[in-house]
């Protein structure tokens, strides 16, 4: 009798825990609340789906790490909203190469004729001159995890691509 009671108590507890998690994830406030310093709007997930909380959290965490990396690795030449040594990056994800208004591109970029997808950004950051021989961007980012995080951040800063 004690054993049966114990089993039922365990099942009841497990149901309560699982149910609680599902309910918590179903609440809109829990899906979208991300306490992030800085530009929270850039990296908050925008797809309201209770089926994707873990995936979205992973993407969001990657974008958070990517923001810090972006500032330290890319920040000497680039900003999201200003053309500096390099063009501004807001909405770069999904955009055609060499199309930022007011920025003077090299010939190599002008004739590139690609869109900035995850794959193309990864190739570009690995070795820009391999993708566009003659480009004035010499910076290479060797670490794959850094590239992945920065691309996630750039994607989060590209609301037009969603």
């Amino acid at each position: 009798m004690r054993t049966k009671t114990g089993i039922w108590v365990s099942i009841g507890l497990a149901t309560a825990v699982v149910g609680g998690i599902l309910l918590a994830n179903a609440l809109p406030a829990n899906q979208h609340t991300r306490h992030v310093a800085g530009n929270a709007a850039e990296i908050a997930p925008s797809i309201p789906s209770p089926a994707l909380p873990v995936t979205m959290a992973a993407v969001s965490n990657q974008a958070i790490a990517g923001k810090k990396l972006y500032q330290s690795k890319c920040g000497a030449c680039h900003s999201l909203d200003a053309n500096r040594v390099g063009p501004q990056h807001r909405n770069v994800f999904g955009r055609e190469a060499a199309t930022v208004s007011g920025f003077r591109y090299s010939k190599a970029l002008k004739k590139l004729n690609i869109r900035w997808t995850t794959k193309n950004l990864d190739i570009w950051l690995t070795n820009p001159s391999k993708l566009a021989p003659g480009t004035s961007m010499g910076f290479r980012l060797a670490k794959a995890s850094d590239r992945k995080a920065i691309i996630a951040y750039l994607k989060s800063a590209s609301p037009k691509s969603k």
């Binding site: 690795k73 890319c74 000497a76 390099g86 480009t135």
Partner: protein
């Protein structure tokens, strides 16, 4: 932390002395490095090198302008201005060495833009106090150190040493600024690049 709590002025003698020592020795090495850089045995594509070096010149122009705007902003204590002007002198040395290298490769050096452009591009108008200015300077110097290290593989062999030297100068600046802002010393090695 407020601007008045910054520790940089109290370390003026130490910081100023170290900066001046690096300036004289560092620039001498940079200039000698760049005179070697124009040697015909360069393994890199000269036109590619010109483009990349010109991007570095543009970066130096921006850094020089940022220190100039900061020094005349009225937001900095005199001792901080003195250090900033010393750092600006290093960036002018970098610019001059890079311009010389581009010209020796047969290229035209990138020209500086207007001060208004740099004010807007760097968001200078939003800076309200000394700490804001130092944080911007730290961001630019840290980024510049990483930028120089990151472009080394794309440059011809003859430019590797000078790019590394410039990265060293930028890392030196970043370390001074981070210390002044009270940032902890990074625990992990290989903190740049």
């Amino acid at each position: 932390m407020t601007g008045s709590e910054l520790t940089m002025p109290s370390r003026r003698a130490l910081i100023g002395g170290a900066g001046k020592t690096l300036s004289a020795a560092g620039l001498a090495m940079i200039v000698s490095g760049c005179s070697n850089a124009a040697a015909p045995e360069s393994a890199g594509d000269p036109s590619q090198d010109v483009g990349i070096l010109n991007a570095a010149i543009a970066l130096e122009h921006e850094g020089i302008a940022a220190y100039q705007i900061a020094a005349t902003s009225g937001l900095l204590q005199p001792a901080v201005v003195e250090i900033g002007v010393t750092f600006q002198g290093h960036h002018k040395g970098h610019r001059d060495a890079l311009v010389k290298a581009v010209e020796q490769l047969g290229g035209n050096a990138a020209e500086e833009k207007s001060q208004d452009h740099y004010v807007e591009a760097l968001g200078i108008a939003s800076l309200k106090n000394q700490e804001d200015v130092l944080r911007l300077a730290l961001k630019l110097e840290r980024g510049a150190a990483n930028a120089y290290l990151g472009l080394i593989p794309s440059l011809g062999n003859d430019f590797h040493q000078v790019a590394a030297q410039m990265a060293g100068d930028e890392a030196f600046h970043a370390a001074i600024l981070a210390n002044a802002l009270g940032e902890p010393i990074p625990k992990a090695p290989l903190m740049f690049g």
